[in-house]
Symmetry: C2
Subunit: 430 residues, 2 copies
């Protein structure tokens, strides 16, 4: 059954992931051929700086002209591991125009322009796969899109950024402050020189948009995702979480509203109970919970980043795209028929942990409790602690809308007796 | 793009899983149609005892003539949830002969005759999917077969039987003995009236065969899997495990040998450290670890059985089979090109925990240690405990082959000073 003309692959980008894709395609060529049903070969590798190409990458395949490579006309699959919006977007679109399928690891691009890219692929009967864009090697896109295609997904809750999980884990275990933990992450290669995309939650938000779109059969872009990073998480927050039997994690949360008529997607730090399986996800690992009507609760766990894990996901997609090429078909494309509205953050309902610095005098607790009551936010527990004429109040609420909580906090800030709203953190996973 | 002639599905079996498949196909018909690209309808439901059909199952679709149903000629996909070898095997084969694809939840049949069934499917260009045969709703077959198609899997280690996990969990947490825990499992519906398939490890062994076959691209049948159940696990074993910081789980373990040239598959109770993520898999849940060259360690977790979770897996496969029917193609079939030999249990290398009842006199430890040394089995730790002229010795070994360990135990049994080899348990997950 093996055909002899090899399938041709163009690789765009040859950094940590691209060089690992190259290595595996070279050393495991026989396995890949057997699994695909035809040999597959690297036809060209486009890089920006050929002088920087790593050892083991065949020099004769390297080019700086990515556009000419995707326009060659004999390319079956383009693997894009450049990242960022341009030139990746134009190159992928050009690849489709020239009949190639595309495997991409580009979360930012898919979260921004997934719909247009899917449309371009469908027009040409080509594939667009991007398992590597979400949580590295952990199979998530395919399970959500195919394994759960007959089920109704209500919630996706996960740790999808390894850098921030490493930092929060260090703050939790060693008592380090945010800056110190970030320095350690940088030194160990878990954080980039400019860590903004990770620590401000942009990376996780892109993944949340992709996961929400697939889970809810609805278009969700990066702009639809409420985003808060971890830069304001303090040692005091972590200590407060511990006192509650919780830990702090940066979570991506995609939810279908109880009435099923709208969805939300958000990324923010949150306290989760230590008994929740996500609480024990350490270092730079990722893990994602999926809740579906029939399946119940599923969890997927593994390394969320890194050259080899990401290459594993890319190669899985490459095998699928090549198989489809051989059989003259395409895998499942975009599924956005539900067209559910994405509600703003104000409509999200969850629990909150609020720390207030207040005057240490009688009646303050009553005053604060009245403000919560007036906004319809029900209090679960209050912990009061006095220190030198000042006192701190820690309030944990029952479930309330984000809008109601924001209004509550706004009013609290105006009270003379409330010196400072020291921190507000959501409580999830209960 | 939606075609109007519906795809027709024949359902074989309408017990817990079948009735849930029927319910979801009926109540979520619009969603399924949108995801498939065409409406899909139940054309017939074959049952043995029509009087026992559950509420909500359309009576007009029910037939006792399964053979006539699969022979109708207009069936696109046959869903088989009967279980057992016959008549399931003949019905599936007949379905292929009449042009249908098949979705099956039948682990016993796939583990026994997977190769023949795959060949029959391929001959007709049809699909054979069986995600539901392994670990219920947890996506495992598709991730192994497709997401990791570009990677090299070295090990699959998992809890794949909910009944035995429930029993062992109860023994661990409540101190119950095996019989008492089995009674509780039966009362709660976790164990069947005849629990043999679960407690003797047959169910887990079938799943191990399926997982090993897919993971190693090699044919592995039930007969290739070394199998030990949990009926001989005692409260003393659980207590010993606790003293070592371990718990006892029934594990399915599929491994590629270090040289890559052979594989093993086995199911047996084993001690695993409490720090291992599998140790915290409670009640009837399932979880599977997968170790691959590039991906690293992945874990998949969720409900391993039950009507709804199994139906979720069946429906995911049904959507895939229907999509393939529409596009006139078939998904990936059997991949067994590696043809690696399956080594016997004697060649498995792992660690062991051995409890001996010995005479309480000087020199016994030296004598026992000599036997281990003579068989090349290196001792990690020994714990000695005296009681009324008798003593117990607990030996934990370093890694050794099963054959060497068996020979060691054989010799120990012949020592006058060894009254009994009270238990032997493997230690995994380190």
């Amino acid at each position: 059954m093996m055909r002899t003309r090899p399938l041709k692959v163009a690789l765009l980008g040859c950094g940590v992931v691209g060089s690992e894709v190259t290595r595996i395609m070279t050393t495991h060529a026989d396995d890949l051929a057997a699994r695909i049903g035809a040999p597959v070969e690297l036809a060209g590798i486009a890089v920006r700086r050929p002088g920087r190409v790593r050892e083991g990458v065949p020099a004769e395949l390297v080019t700086t002209d990515a556009t000419a490579l995707v326009k060659r006309g004999d390319i079956d699959v383009v693997v894009e591991v450049i990242g960022g919006i341009e030139p990746a977007r134009t190159l992928i679109t050009t690849a489709f125009e020239h009949g190639a399928s595309v495997v991409s690891a580009n979360k930012a691009l898919v979260a921004k322009d997934g719909a247009a890219l899917h449309a371009a692929a469908q027009e040409r009967g080509a594939d667009l796969y991007y398992e590597a864009a979400v949580a590295g090697a952990i199979p998530l896109v395919r399970p959500l899109r195919e394994s759960l295609a007959g089920d109704n997904i209500n919630r996706v809750l996960g740790i999808v950024n390894g850098t921030t999980n490493f930092i929060l884990d260090r703050m939790d275990t060693s008592g380090a402050g945010y800056s110190e933990a970030l320095d350690e992450a940088t030194a160990l290669g878990y954080a980039e020189a400019d860590p903004t995309a990770d620590v401000e939650g942009f990376d996780a938000a892109a993944k949340a948009a992709i996961l929400a779109g697939i889970a809810f059969h609805t278009r969700v872009t990066l702009d639809d995702v409420h985003r808060e990073g971890i830069t304001e998480v303090t040692g005091a927050d972590i200590a407060s979480a511990k006192r509650m039997g919780c830990t702090v994690k940066l979570l991506a949360i995609c939810e279908r509203a109880a009435d099923g008529r709208s969805v939300t997607a958000r990324v923010h730090p949150a306290m989760i109970p230590l008994t929740h399986p996500l609480a024990s996800v350490r270092e730079a690992y990722n893990a994602v919970f999926v809740e579906a009507d029939a399946a119940g609760q599923l969890m997927f766990y593994g390394p969320g980043a890194g050259g080899s894990p990401t290459a594993s996901a890319v190669l899985g997609d490459l095998v699928a795209a090549c198989r489809n090429k051989l059989s003259g078909t395409a895998g499942p494309g975009e599924s956005a028929y539900s067209r559910l509205p994405v509600s703003p953050m104000g409509q999200v309902v969850t629990r909150y942990h609020i720390s207030l610095d207040v005057a240490d005098k009688p009646g303050v607790l009553a005053q604060v409790a009245t403000v919560f009551a007036e906004h319809g936010v029900s209090i679960d527990t209050v912990r009061q602690q006095g220190k030198d004429g000042e006192a701190s109040l820690v309030v944990v609420t029952h479930r309330a809308s984000d809008a109601a909580l924001s209004a509550t906090v706004e009013t609290l800030r105006q009270l003379d007796t409330v010196r400072d709203v020291a921190s507000i953190m959501r409580v999830e996973g209960e």
